[in-house]
Every structure is written in structure tokens, then in C-alpha cells.
């Protein structure tokens, strides 16, 4: 390849923005061939392909993000957009208010408590423990909590995504194995444990699961920022 052209393109936002979109479309096409296989998670596939390309090409994250930031920015309006299914299914949400609040409190305490417990068990430093503690919440909130606790927000962002992908992959086989058929409960659990990535998975399985997942994600972001101090 013409190396001057490569140098020119590799540092421009256009290449990495377009590249992210193209890899994502290919990954969703592959995932749709086997919709029942949660291991073919399009988010994981896309991240893996782009990470490998960047490492092989010697492109740093900052350069990549200059292009990808246009996609990243839409996380905010997408969170607002979760208010629309909330509006459309308000009566369904109201009739599940009590179980939702109970599951929120139990789940939020468990998410932070279990993470802090295992992180201590594996001998991580207090800075890493603080970086891991809010990992079930959505990335922006988790990073703010982490930096407030003297953690490393960049590490938090990476672990948040890992947690999201992990939950998105295991939720369907786990819930099926436990014979849980209530999609409001399944969705709420995955949104609480695995924030927006869990919610993206939930929407691809069932619209009611997606709705409750989005609500759980929003509520857990608030509660985690209040309770995280109990554990650190």
C-alpha cells in the first residue's frame, strides 16, 4: 500500500469512524446467522477486531477515539431514548414497582459487595478495587464514581465494558437454566448487572426485557453512587 496515503488516512477521524461502522455491520450480520448463540456477541466481536487492527497497525487509542468519538457521543441521547419505551409501557412498569425496588436494592448491594470481596481476595491494590467497584453501572457514571474514590477511570471504563459483555453472554443460558420465564425479571437483572450492554442484549431478545433492563440500568447508576462508600 502507498504508505504516505496510509499515514494520511490512519490519523484522520474518517477512517476509524467508517471502520467502526463497517466492522459493526459485519459483526451484526455474522451474529444474526446464529441468533441463539450468545457467544457471537456483536459488541465483543467488533471490539476484538478493532483492537487487533489497532495493535497490529500501531495506532494509539487517542487517534482511534478522534474518529470513534462521534459514535461514543450518542450514548447520551440513547440513554434519553430509553425514556420512550418507559412511556409506552408505563402501566407495566407501575405494576412491577415493588419487585423492582426490592431487586434494585438487593442487586446493587450484591454487585458492589461481591466485586469488592473478590477483588480483595485476589489481592488487588485499593486503587484497583476502587476502579472495579462501580463496574455494573453505565460507563460515564462508573468513571465518575471511580475517580471520586481515587481509582483509575480508564481501567474502570475497560472493566465496565468487560462486565457488560460478560453479562450479555451469560444471561440467556443462565436464565433458561433457572427456568425463569418472566422477561421483566430477566431484563431487570441484566440491566442492573450489565448496564447498557446488557440492555442492548435484552432488546435483541425481547422488548419487555429491554424496557426493564433500561430502567434497571438507570436506577442502579443512581443507587451505586450512593452505596459504594459502604464498601470502601
Amino acid at each position: 500500500m502507498n504508505s504516505a496515503l496510509w499515514v494520511y488516512l490512519a490519523t484522520s477521524p474518517l477512517l476509524w469512524l467508517t471502520g467502526t461502522l463497517v466492522v459493526w455491520l459485519a459483526a451484526t450480520a455474522i451474529a444474526s446467522l446464529r441468533p441463539g448463540n450468545p457467544l457471537l456477541n456483536p459488541i465483543m466481536l467488533t471490539i476484538a477486531v478493532i483492537a487487533i487492527v489497532l495493535c497490529l497497525a500501531g495506532i494509539d487509542y487517542k487517534t482511534y477515539f478522534e474518529g470513534a468519538q462521534f459514535i461514543h457521543f450518542l450514548l447520551g441521547p440513547a440513554t434519553v431514548a430509553l425514556g420512550i419505551p418507559l412511556y409506552e409501557k408505563l402501566s407495566l412498569v407501575k405494576s412491577n414497582l415493588v419487585p423492582m425496588l426490592a431487586a434494585l436494592i438487593a442487586g446493587s448491594l450484591t454487585a458492589v459487595g461481591a466485586t469488592v470481596f473478590f477483588a480483595h481476595l485476589f489481592g488487588f491494590s485499593s486503587s484497583v478495587v476502587a476502579s472495579l467497584a462501580p463496574k455494573s453501572t453505565t460507563a460515564a457514571v462508573a468513571m465518575a464514581i471511580s475517580s471520586g474514590l481515587n481509582g483509575d477511570p480508564a481501567l474502570t471504563a475497560a472493566v465496565v465494558v468487560l462486565t457488560g459483555i460478560c453479562g450479555a453472554i451469560i444471561v440467556t443460558p443462565m436464565m433458561n437454566a433457572m427456568r425463569i420465564k418472566d422477561y421483566s425479571a430477566r431484563g431487570f437483572a441484566v440491566g442492573l448487572a450489565s448496564h447498557g450492554i446488557g440492555t442492548a442484549r435484552a432488546y435483541s431478545v425481547d422488548p419487555v426485557a429491554g424496557l426493564f433492563s433500561g430502567i434497571a440500568m438507570g436506577l442502579n447508576a443512581v443507587l451505586t453512587s450512593l452505596i459504594v462508600h459502604l464498601f470502601l
Binding site: C166, A193, G218
Partner: protein, 124 residues
Amino acid sequence: MLVGITILLVFQLIGEVAAYFLGGFVPGPVIGMAMIAVVLKLTGGVKTLEPAHQRTLETSRSILANLGILFVPAGVGIIQHLDLIRDRGFALLAIVLLSTVITLTVTVWVFILVKRLSGGYADE
């Protein structure tokens, strides 16, 4: 599309302003999410707002149908931590896997048991 995205951004902006005054522990977009649901409910029957409602619903559906791609840029940030992954990757993965399994289990069962106790499955 343009009307829809503008409405979403306006609610995000209002949410960010509210978050600023609340001390930042509730994320702005989450406040925006609650507010847009409330405002849609309140203005549901108003005829002049019907086209704006439709645009908002359409735009939201297409964004939510492609929610996953929005996490890719943050996720690729993993390449900044390759040394930690090389040294402690197994332990990190174990923590994430164990805590996620436990959290999913506790959350789903508390939801189901409380719903059962409060008569939520009575009609089934």
C-alpha cells in the same frame, strides 16, 4: 430524524443542568430519560404535538435498535490496559465472571420472589 434527535438532545441538556444542581450523583442522561417519559405522558393527547411525538418515537426506536455499537469506542479502550491484562487478566476475568453471575442470580430471584409474595403473578 432531525426533529427527533434534537428533542433527545434537548432533554439530555435539561438533564445535565439538573444533574449539575443535584451535585452530579445522578447522571444527566438518566434524568433526561425520566423527564422525557413524563413529558410524553403529560402531552400525550395534545394534537399539535402529535408530529413531534411521532418523530421522537421513530428516532428513539432506530437508536435503540443499534444500541450496541455505542459501546464499541469505550470498549476499544481496553488496548490501553494490555499490560494489566497480561499480568492479571485471569484474576480480573474471574472477578467479573463471579460477581456478574452472583448479581444476576440475586437480582432475578429477589424480583421473582417479591413479585410472587405481592401477588404479581396472581393472574397467571
